[in-house]
């Protein structure tokens, strides 16, 4: 990857092979494995995703390049055989993942892990003259302003007894 400072994963054991999940035409997932690193306070997302002490992230092939640009990402060889531990951690057996319902069920953690991966990445910064602000901080500030404006303009529900 050419990224300096990539740490080795804590547990380098290979992922179990799950051939029955391979080759799905629309997803074809691959596992991008993050080394154990700083806790970003995303434990809620991580509860269902921690696999033997690792953080893991699923991604579509089209997003793999973007994820691969992150210098703290360690890519495993692409292949659907690496999906098994994640599915198992989420509580669905690999056998159940064969049917369509279970297959759809694990799509939401894919989105969740994509968001988590974006939050774990180094932030982009915006620079206007002396003003320097990261995009996440700017989003939080704009969200607070939006909440403030909404609190002023949205009518407060009134008690029927007080209407008179």
């Amino acid at each position: 990857m050419g990224c300096p400072g990539v740490r080795e994963p804590v547990d380098p054991r290979p992922w179990p092979v799950v051939p029955e999940l391979g080759g799905h035409p629309s997803v074809d997932p691959e596992v991008v494995q993050l080394p154990a690193g700083p806790d970003k306070g995303l434990g809620i997302a991580r509860v269902g995703l921690a696999v033997r002490g690792h953080q893991s992230i699923l991604t579509h092939p089209g997003l793999a390049t973007k994820a691969g640009d992150r210098c703290d990402v360690r890519l495993r060889p692409a292949g659907p055989s690496t999906l098994g531990p994640v599915v198992g951690t989420l509580g669905w057996s690999t056998t159940r993942a064969r049917d369509g319902l279970a297959f759809q069920m694990w799509r939401w953690p894919v989105l969740l892990t994509l968001v988590m991966g974006a939050l774990d990445s180094p932030a982009h910064y915006l620079h206007w003259g002396p003003i320097l602000v990261s995009v996440p901080n700017l989003i939080v500030i704009l969200t607070m302003i939006l909440i403030f404006v909404l609190a002023l303009v949205i009518p407060f529900p009134k008690d029927k007894d007080d209407e008179s």
Partner: protein, 233 residues
């Protein structure tokens, strides 16, 4: 058969017996300032029917979540909240409660600033809110320092240089985990809790500030309550 003389003279009333008793004086002062109907009012002025007045109590609600999750974290320790699912969840509840606490508090601050909430002898209420805000920043900062992960290492070593630059690094050593942990879990929550309780009591004493353009009629029921007697000049 013998009789016992009473301890007090017949003309001595209970009030005179309690004269000079500091506990009685404190009780009379507190309940004189905060009668139950003012401490826990059943009705509020009509101008409170706005979402902007909700963010104070939302801030307190988030603080309750922070304290409860923080108590659990302090009892179980890092070996639990870094490794187990429940521990990670509790750690996240603590973290995200802090984020919501600050969002609610900032919106509360904006609302009070733009309605000049220091009007009507409420300067001390405003100042305790300011101090609570600053103390909260310090508490959150020490919280980031005691996460016991790479993030806290990075933050502490960056902060170390800043604190050394202003000359207090030797007194407040952010790389000293024991010192920072005690400050975070003992000192600052205690001080912040006292300030927040004082802030709430002052709000109860003076009443919630009305909007600037609202004329509040003086009710006959409680003419001594500034919250209901303030009339815009």
């Amino acid at each position: 058969m013998t009789t016992t003389e009473p301890q007090t003279a017949p003309d001595e009333t209970p009030d005179s017996a309690e004269a000079g008793n500091w506990t009685v004086g404190l009780r009379n002062k507190f309940f004189g300032t905060y009668p139950p109907e003012k401490l826990l009012p059943g009705r509020q002025p009509a101008y409170l029917s706005s979402w902007i007045y909700v963010f104070g109590v939302l801030t307190i609600a988030a603080l309750v979540f922070i304290i409860i999750s923080g108590l659990v974290l302090s009892f179980e320790g890092p070996s639990w909240y870094h490794t187990s699912s429940v521990g990670l969840f509790t750690n996240s509840v603590h973290f995200w409660s802090v984020q919501l606490f600050f969002v609610f508090m900032v919106v509360h601050l904006w609302g009070k600033f733009w309605m000049a909430a220091w009007r009507g002898h409420r300067a001390l209420t405003w100042m305790t809110g300011v101090v609570a805000f600053l103390m909260s920043i310090g508490t959150a900062f020490t919280g980031y320092l005691v996460q016991t992960n790479f993030d806290s290492q990075w933050i502490s070593f960056e902060a170390k240089d800043g604190l050394n630059a202003v000359g207090i690094g030797a007194w407040f050593n952010v790389t000293n985990l024991g010192q920072t942990l005690l400050i975070h879990v003992c000192l600052l929550p205690l001080v912040l809790g006292v300030i927040v309780v004082g802030h709430i009591l002052l709000v109860r004493k003076h009443g919630i500030v009305p909007p600037i353009d609202v004329e509040v009629p003086a009710p006959a029921a409680d003419p001594t309550d500034p919250a209901t007697t303030e009339v815009k000049s």
